[in-house]
């Protein structure tokens, strides 16, 4: 097995409860650790898997600091401070960008309030560098409406990376994509995760197979019998299971068996 260690906590969710007219989320507890692999900038890719309508989007917004839970806290960063909007990047399912700005301007805007301190020239160079890395260089002058779904997704992810956020939440990143595109998205996300040691991608999805294939850790969000509200019912350490960091893992028989088991559970 590849040598690795799980070090400091990067994101910690403590006793989160959310209810409106009924309980949506109940006693959500989990932690994401910094995974260190010698000689690599190994970021973290974590999945929150649950079926549609279970409350994933609400948890997504709580993690991003966009809504407050009724009780509980979300702590982020090495300092473990309560999350504030802007500390965690989000990539919505429909890849929201500002339609009145070109792709370049959208990316430039992300750097306006960024934690990265660069001068204008350096900022432009960084944008061009990312655009080249993620096949967007020839689309920088286009408006978002001129991009394909995949290009929009890439622009949206890069926009969040450029804010300097190490933590990025992705809502259903595989939704509505064909098999070929899914492979490209997985490749892209793995690339993003390895840009920095602390980069942490949290994928919120109902797509069990692809989420497990890309992740090092997965949390299953489901309802327990006779209890209201969804909670974390299972944590899968995919590194320990030998399923992480393997591009061909979807063809593995044991992995397929795990996928079938989880599909049955959610």
């Amino acid at each position: 097995m590849t040598s690795y260690s799980k070090n400091e906590v990067l994101i910690q969710v403590k006793d989160v409860n959310l209810s409106y007219d009924k309980q949506i989320l109940r006693d959500i507890n989990f932690a994401i650790h910094n995974i260190v692999r010698p000689g690599l900038s190994q970021g973290q890719v974590v999945s929150l898997i649950g079926r549609s309508g279970i409350g994933k989007t609400q948890l997504f917004k709580i993690l991003a600091g966009l809504i407050q839970p009724n009780t509980g806290t979300v702590l982020v960063g090495l300092e473990q401070q309560p999350v504030k909007a802007g500390q965690v990047g989000i990539v919505a399912q429909n890849y929201i960008l500002f339609n009145h700005r070109t792709v370049f301007d959208n990316l430039r805007l992300a750097m306006q309030h960024s934690s990265i301190t660069l001068n204008d020239k350096e900022k432009d160079a960084l944008i061009n560098d990312y655009a080249t890395k993620f096949d967007l260089a020839e689309h920088l002058k286009k408006y978002p409406l001129q991009l394909s779904g995949g290009q929009r997704q890439r622009a949206s992810i890069i926009q969040q990376v450029l804010t300097g956020n190490k933590f990025i939440l992705l809502d259903e990143p595989f939704s509505g994509l064909d098999a070929l595109m899914i492979d490209r998205v997985i490749e892209l996300l793995l690339k993003i995760s390895t840009l920095d040691e602390l980069n942490t991608l949290v994928i919120v999805s109902h797509d069990v197979e692809n989420s497990l294939a890309i992740s090092d850790t997965a949390f299953i969000l489901a309802r327990q019998k006779d209890k209201e509200g969804a909670t974390i019912t299972e944590t899968l350490d995919l590194i320990e299971m030998g399923f992480a960091w393997n591009p061909a893992i979807r063809e593995n028989e044991k992995f397929q068996h795990l996928v079938a088991q989880i599909k049955h559970k959610i």
């Binding site: 966009l66 965690v88 990047g89 989000i90 500002f98 339609n99 009145h100 805007l109 409406l145």
Partner: protein
């Protein structure tokens, strides 16, 4: 034969050129029918209206009247846009929201009963006309602008938060510059209301002239040829400005062309 089948089939997309041919042919047929059937009627036929249009346009008083109407319309529109934008943007600050809601309801307030009040409040005929025009347009403007603001996807505000913008920066990015193209579209649509109202308000104070004044005077003497001639001019100018504003929108905001294509 295939073309005939296409133009009579529901939900069929027709190409731009076919669409133009259809408009021209149908307009021509309608005018021809009017010309033939209306020979002995009270309403003047197209050829007589066309003669009147030429006579009006070449008359010495036309340019002055046209200029007077256009000045009043553009001044009214300009002030109305500024007021409506101010009210709409301020409506996002809770303390100003009731004012915006009240102005929206003012669409149901008739101008006729308020003319006396406006006469007392204004100093001359020009101010009276301008005030009535603004009072007539602003509620419609604010209604359309508030609809645009309400239709904004909440995810855009969330994106601003993740990009670490404060509330003022979010307001600027999403509501003000992000919706400027739609404001322009609202302006184009409401120009029609202003242009329609111009003839009414010009009738309240005729000293400055204007197309409305010309229309009322011709109506008084039942000079139907001139009345219809002026109506045609007003109609044509309205369509011309609509075309101009639409193209100006595409030029100022190139991304709106992509939306149209999609």
């Amino acid at each position: 034969m295939e073309l005939l089948k296409t133009i009579f089939s529901p939900l069929t997309q027709i190409k731009g050129r076919t669409s133009i041919i259809l408009i021209v042919v149908e307009a021509f047929l309608a005018l021809l029918l009017w010309e033939i059937v209306g020979q002995n009627g009270l309403i003047p036929v197209p050829s007589k209206i066309l003669t009147s249009v030429v006579a009006i346009v070449t008359s010495s008083y036309f340019v002055d009247n046209l200029f007077s109407s256009l000045t009043l319309t553009f001044t009214g529109m300009g002030i109305s846009i500024v007021l409506a934008l101010l009210v709409s943007y301020l409506s996002l600050i809770p303390v100003f929201a009731p004012i915006a809601k009240f102005i929206v309801k003012c669409r149901y307030l008739t101008l006729t009963g308020l003319i006396f009040l406006f006469t007392l409040l204004t100093q001359d005929g020009h101010q009276l006309k301008l005030s009535l025009l603004i009072f007539g347009i602003v509620p419609f403007f604010v209604t359309s602008l508030l609809a645009i603001i309400e239709a904004i996807n909440v995810q855009e505000y969330e994106l601003c938060k993740t990009l670490r913008m404060n509330n003022w920066q979010t307001l600027w990015e999403v509501v003000i510059i992000g919706r400027l193209d739609q404001v322009f579209e609202v302006m184009r649509q409401n120009f029609a209301i202003a242009w329609m109202m111009i003839t009414m308000v010009e009738g309240l104070s005729m000293s400055e002239g204007g197309l409305g004044t010309m229309l009322i005077k011709s109506n008084k003497y039942i000079d139907l040829g001139t009345v219809f001639g002026i109506l045609v001019i007003i109609f044509a100018l309205g369509i011309f400005f609509d075309f101009l504003l639409r193209n100006l929108r595409h030029w100022l905001f190139p991304y709106t062309k992509i939306q149209v294509k999609k």
